[in-house]
Symmetry: C2
Subunit: 503 residues, 2 copies
């Protein structure tokens, strides 16, 4: 018995060692990525590309090594405890995805995306979809082929979606997004028809150094652990890192201080998830965050349910006025309205409000799904895009730059990524409802700038679990219920009915 237990441990320990090495290589690559976005001089690109390729190839080789397969086989035939089972499940999943796709195809896709990025940029700049179309077509084909290698019996879009959200399943995504479309479109229509106009209270120029101070104030207020993080600027804000070093980036626009603040809160949410992962599990799936849905739920819970609340601005408005004395006359209500204003004529996802945001997602989701499933052709995309905007949002883009070319994701070969943005927001509302149930005076705490209990709630119910549970299990563990859009839709209806005086 003792011998068998020891042998079991030996295989598991060996698996863990391999997995930790792979994580360390990937985390090193993550630092190289942060560096490239934030501090690298422009001339560094050629060397940096090679460094990142080398690390990515090494991680791939370590993962697909025959020994990994043997260890997984061996461990799967054993009685494992819950944590071991979770580790084996996650590694198996990664292993299968990595070994099933031929190396040449991975390289081909990588080459195509390298070409695609500058072509997308040019197409967007020139407002000429035809510049990007041929490469997009190639990418669609290659990603379809990629999906077929992973699972020839499945809908290829489903397979691609699972790269970003492996456990919720495409049906869940389809149900959720369809429901969001069906219930939000009438709400947005009512808002459009309402006489209420929420004013934008910032009409001056707000210097970016002061905005940066304000972002630091926000992070201080929310309880960001500076000993394990930092704040910088990047053209496309992101957060990255590990539980020991989870960094936030944001960006500043002189005319839009509120935008930077919300972006900072959003990235704080991501970083605080990462910081809340268990230290002692660093480098194993138990010390890694769940996938994009869960991650986005953490950014959105802070951005939407804290950052867009009256309670938060009751707390934070004085700090804002201290940094920008010219908004001295603004009331909490003014800021609350500004930060929740629905931009009826906005065509751009990244500038969208909490409601119309999901329509941007739904449009790309429906189109990319049809593309990958071969139901439409690349050439159909621009018109279909514009039609759907007209249908769901009542506005029609004049240009493809503001239409189907607005987002970078397809040029990265990312198909199936978008839905996780909506799923994350939906999950955020479900989690927040449960947190309110568990912490009855949560709103008062936010009003008093006390975030510890909420933070602890998120850590113990979400962060600390790492990948112990699958996403669906995690949702049930944290909320006691299955994943549902009820909370988000109730929240949206109540909040916006009040804001826009709807009956």
């Amino acid at each position: 018995m003792a011998t068998e237990a020891a042998a079991e441990n030996a295989a598991y320990e060996e698996l863990l060692d391999n997995v930790k090495r792979i994580s360390n290589v990937k985390n090193a690559a993550g630092i190289l990525g942060w560096d490239q976005e934030v501090v690298m001089p422009e001339g560094g690109t050629p060397a940096r590309s090679q460094q990142r390729s080398a690390l990515s190839a090494i991680a791939h080789e370590l993962l697909t090594d025959d020994e990994m397969g043997e260890l997984l086989d061996e461990l799967e035939s054993q009685d494992l405890d819950d944590e071991q089972t979770a580790v084996v499940r996650e590694v198996r999943r990664e292993y299968e995805r990595a070994t099933r796709v031929p190396g040449e195809l991975v390289e081909e896709i990588s080459r195509t995306t390298s070409e695609a990025l500058p072509q997308w940029k040019e197409a967007k700049a020139e407002d000429d979809f035809s510049i990007f179309a041929p490469t997009l077509e190639k990418l669609v084909e290659q990603k379809r082929e990629y999906a077929e290698h992973i699972d020839p019996d499945k809908d290829p879009y489903e397979v691609l979606f699972a790269d970003y959200e492996p456990y919720l399943g495409i049906e869940t995504a389809e149900e959720m997004l369809t429901r969001l479309r069906d219930e939000l479109v009438p709400l947005i229509d009512s808002i459009r028809e309402s006489d209420v106009e929420l004013a934008a209270p910032f009409d001056g120029t707000y210097d970016t150094d002061t905005q940066e101070q304000l972002s630091r104030d926000i992070l201080d207020t929310l309880g960001y652990d500076w000993n394990r993080g930092r704040l910088d600027t990047a053209p496309h804000p992101f957060s990255s890192g590990t539980q020991f070093d989870a960094r936030v980036t944001t960006r500043f626009d002189e005319s839009d201080p509120l935008g930077a603040m919300m972006s900072t809160i959003h990235e704080f949410g991501h970083a605080t998830y990462t910081q809340g992962l268990p230290d002692e599990e660093y480098g194993t799936p138990l010390g890694q965050s769940r996938d994009l849905t869960a991650h986005e739920s953490q950014s959105r819970i802070w951005e939407n349910h804290v950052g867009r609340s009256r309670a938060f601005w009751e707390r934070f408005l004085p700090a804002l006025k201290e940094r920008f004395p010219d908004v001295e006359d603004a009331s909490v209500e003014d800021i609350y309205k500004a930060v929740n204003r629905v931009y009826e004529d906005n065509l751009i996802r990244v500038e969208a409000d909490e409601l119309t945001y999901h329509m941007h997602i739904v449009v790309r989701f429906e189109i990319e799904k049809a593309l990958i499933r071969g139901e439409i052709e690349v050439e159909d995309v621009p018109e279909l895009w514009n039609d759907k905007y007209e249908e769901y949002l009542g506005i029609r883009p004049d240009t493809d730059s503001e239409g189907c070319l607005q987002d970078i994701h397809w040029s990265h070969g990312s198909f199936g990524y978008f839905p996780t943005y909506s799923l994350g927001s939906v999950l955020a509302a479900q989690l927040y409802a449960k947190a309110e149930e568990d912490i009855p005076d949560l709103e008062d705490q936010i009003r008093n700038g006390e975030f510890d209990e909420f933070h602890d709630w998120l850590t113990s119910n979400v962060h600390q679990h790492g990948c112990l549970y699958t996403t669906d299990e995690l949702i049930e563990v944290a909320t006691g219920e299955e994943f549902t859009a009820d909370y988000f839709l109730n929240y949206a209806n109540e909040k916006y009915s009040e804001l826009y005086d709807l009956e």
Copy 2:
């Protein structure tokens, strides 16, 4: 014939691919190192250590792979051109050093140095050599063992020295350092006896933001390629990177703006060497800088022969006065004297001037050589250290903190590193003399802030060769002569005789 040539190429190309991958891993580790010193939040250390160990283990495994040995064997039996020969020579050297030392010993040394660093810090802070002594003893033994694995027939110090300077040979180091000692000691004595006192012209407080601007001014003036580099602060200034991204760090002391300026110029010299390596050879020995002697020659040629010259300050003094108007009354001669002042009572290497600097090196060189050769015991070090300071510099440290504990290198296990500091300065003088011969109006160019021709001279005579030549060959190619201390000693004697009115 064609088939044979193709086969030859295949082996060489394969070697190059392996070597490039290793370089990319090492360069990635370099970025992690930069990040850790410059921007990483403190809490990041545990994860960072694991990431760096993983990359270092991977680089070691890639280098010591059997296939590398076979490729080297195969290529060494072929007719190779000069560049191929150089690549094979450099890779062979690294391969032999890496394969001969058992992995366990490497790990043991790594563990000992991990312990040694905090112990050295504590010993220095407490001024108590006995805290550091046991670990130092262990390190000396382990490094001796390490040397024995690499070459049991050679003097172990010679073997260790070759880790930092593989081609000049320990006899050259010994000759050079002995000559420096024998000729500089009397010069320093004369300076001590002279009545001339060079005043320090900075006695105020100089804010570090403005000092940073000044460092940027200096880098602009010298022609630093900002597209491939950046300037930051670090507690121990260093430069690092590749030809595509060679970064500089410096540090600021409110009471010593000259110190920061000289440190910036020094690190600029290192970075400009790196930036001058051929782009197309990135990742191979032909695109990597020669070892520490050559590197230090590039930092010193800019620091000493440009930064400590009258011509440079004729150019740069107005910029200094613009940043710090309170030095308005200073003349070029004032700054020239300040920057060349010999600190007769200084015990600390990193604060030393151009002359006494070498005595700090000589002392540690003589002691570490005797330690590794087993001619003295660790417990003898403090007194021997102090005796030698008294003998060579006429001053005796009161404490071990200011004595043998002042430098970090031994706690890193670096024995044999120190001499390259002096060799680099000596080589700088030799190279500068040749540059003056080739560019007769070099001094005028410096005075006019024209650095392009000098820069080009260094690039075409030193930088662009990468590791094509061994260090001794490189010196002959660049200067037409063997390595010699004549130029340095002439320069030192002339310059300081004038400054201190010696006959």
